[in-house]
């Protein structure tokens, strides 16, 4: 078998593929965070909780109302996004004028409340969500067996990230959003409803997290803590990509998924810290992040 640095090529290709799958989740989650931070200046610590809520919405929708996976892909983000808008209107909007720290503490508290409530209601063990019938099974790529569902995750995530980027960077709506962050009072003077824009942005970012949650539901057990372990990594991804940079969050999400995948082969024990090591290096060399503006 062909080898590179003593590792068989087939193994490298396999890990590359798996890294891409994980990277797709990182990209989706960090994308929402980047949108919220970039446009609102809020460090949304509740992002993991909204991801969890997305997965629970899919699970409970199926159990209680017979909502299938495809419908959940649309309904769960809408429901959770609406919840996000409510929490923005009721709570978050009051802290915009204060230091970023207050937004962080508020969203962190929100995350604890959501996690605690779900744990009270459903326990910590979690439940399985079935893989939709159309995406069951696996394909043999020669170097590995790839479950069809995981291939779907990569595809879906790339499409969603691309669409979001296009919406914000290339459309009139996106231009309005970006100008709101530059000079909100001026935009308001032009007759644009800025508070509505902010609420919609938060709702949209949160809906992205929920969408990632629905995508993840068939892969991992749906538990109240599923977002908790991801969100710290995703924050590191956002910092590496450059706080608020949409392209940066997507590219660094995918890249870090792959780097983490290789670490799992070379030195598995370090696989949960490698992202943070890279973050430290990036912060020293380029404090604004790889794609951030100085």
């Amino acid at each position: 078998m062909t080898q590179v640095f003593g590792v068989p090529v087939a193994v490298i290709l396999g890990q590359l593929m798996l890294g891409l799958v994980n990277g797709a989740f990182y990209a989706l989650l960090s994308l929402g965070l980047a949108v919220i931070f970039g446009l609102m200046g809020v460090v949304n610590f509740a992002h993991g909780a909204f991801y969890t809520l997305g997965a629970f919405a899919a699970l409970l929708g199926l159990k209680w109302f017979g909502v299938n996976y495809w419908a959940a892909l649309v309904l769960a983000p809408l429901t959770v996004g609406a919840l996000g808008i409510v929490s923005e209107r009721l709570l978050l909007r009051h802290v915009y004028k204060l230091e970023p720290l207050y937004g962080l503490l508020l969203t962190f508290g929100l995350a604890l409340v959501v996690e605690g409530t779900l744990r009270e209601g459903f326990g910590a063990t979690g439940e399985s969500y079935p893989v939709p019938r159309a995406l069951q099974g696996a394909v043999n790529l020669g170097f590995m067996i790839l479950p069809i569902y995981r291939a779907w995750v990569i595809l879906a995530s790339l499409v969603i990230c691309g669409t979001t980027w296009f919406l914000i960077e290339r459309t009139r709506l996106g231009a309005t959003l970006r100008s709101a962050t530059e000079n909100a009072p001026l935009l308001q003077a032009f007759g644009v409803n800025v508070p509505l824009l902010m609420a919609a942005t938060y709702g949209g970012g949160v809906a992205l997290a929920a969408l990632a949650g629905v995508l993840a539901a068939p892969v991992v057990l749906v538990t109240p803590l599923m977002g908790n372990s991801l969100v710290t990594v995703v924050f590191a991804v956002v910092v590496i990509g450059g706080m608020g940079s949409i392209l940066g969050s997507v590219v660094s999400g995918l890249a870090l998924g792959i780097i983490e995948g290789f670490t799992k082969v070379v030195y598995p024990e370090a696989s949960n810290v490698i992202v943070f090591v890279i973050m430290a290096v990036v912060l020293i060399v380029r404090p604004a992040g790889l794609f951030g503006k100085e």
Binding site: L101, L105, A124, P147, V220, L221, L225, V233
Partner: protein, 401 residues
Amino acid sequence: MKIKIAAAGLAAVLAALAGRPAAAAAGGEVVIGDLDDLSGNYADVQGAGGIEAIRMAIADFGGTVLGRKIVVLVADHQNKPDVGASKFREWADQNGLNMLIGGSNTGVNIAMAKVAGAKKVPLFVVGAGGASLTNEDCTPYTVHYVYDTTALANGTATAIVNAGGKTWFYLTADYAFGTQLQNAASKVVEAHGGKNLGSVRVPLGASDFSSFLLQAQGSGAQVLALANAGGDFSNSLKAANEFGITKTMKPAALLAFINNIHSLGLQTAQGLYLTTGWYWDLDDDTRAFAKRFYAKMQAEPTMDHAGAYSATMTYLKAVKAVGSLDPDKVMAELKKTRINDLFAKGGYIRPDGVMVHTMYVMQVKTPQESKYPWDYYRVVKRMSGEEAFGPVTGLCALAPK
């Protein structure tokens, strides 16, 4: 700057969380503590159900002993050894703690055992499995009550090697429990003529197991040994199914609780071998306890739930028998009594602290074999306590070989 502020904010929140006050007990009461993972990965294995089981035992005992009211203190150790140890020390110094039930997590229990030794407070380890608790880390006040890594390995590994699974690869949780479990299983595999082909150490709470599983598959081993627990166990087995690894390798659960099987579903978990210290559907006694427990918790009890009940009962009986709360007198009594209840028949506590009792090698039923809710296990073998927990190793100074 933002990061710095974020870190400061986070630290403040965490400090506030850690500082929640415990209910203080007034003098003249008998105080039983429970330190467990109440909010994390292992919170359903013992957790709130464990607290309920302790309360049930106290109520069944009559609510008082030596004419004093029995109260319970509860705290979340958050899977952090320092939190567990400092809370234990605080209760011992300020709240007159008489006995502690140790919940999940071997790392935390090792830290708490040191406090038990220093403060002379009996520690009944219920949720944690690391056998070092009665070997290198043993104390005169530690009782390892429900199961340990030695018994798990003797049960599951022996059964699988004898059934033809000769070559093994381990997916090991990277902390005290995982490594102890892997070491114990490796020894059993070799002793029965099998071979260990390798292992991969997986950080606790990893979000994706597929990379590690592909490495396991690459080893060509027949058996995929899961030396992990809780959500890590469930997610690794789920991924092994998804990637078709279970078609070429036979998965072995070195530790699985019934709530894990319930959440995975029989479709995924069927055929799995595992070892347990107790099962709700063994006999009339266990079913009666399970029925009461189910009414309160809407789930069948795990071995830890039954163990928490039994440990509390056993301690209170010993206190009553010696007519004193003196830890040395109570420990002496504990080590000479036989334990006969819904959890153990003829169990006894060895000088090193192991509670020797029957362990069960189980196989998870197929969806067709399962006749009623929670009908999940078929008993493959009843192992005597001596066979399960093995001979005294001599590593604990209290019990020379």
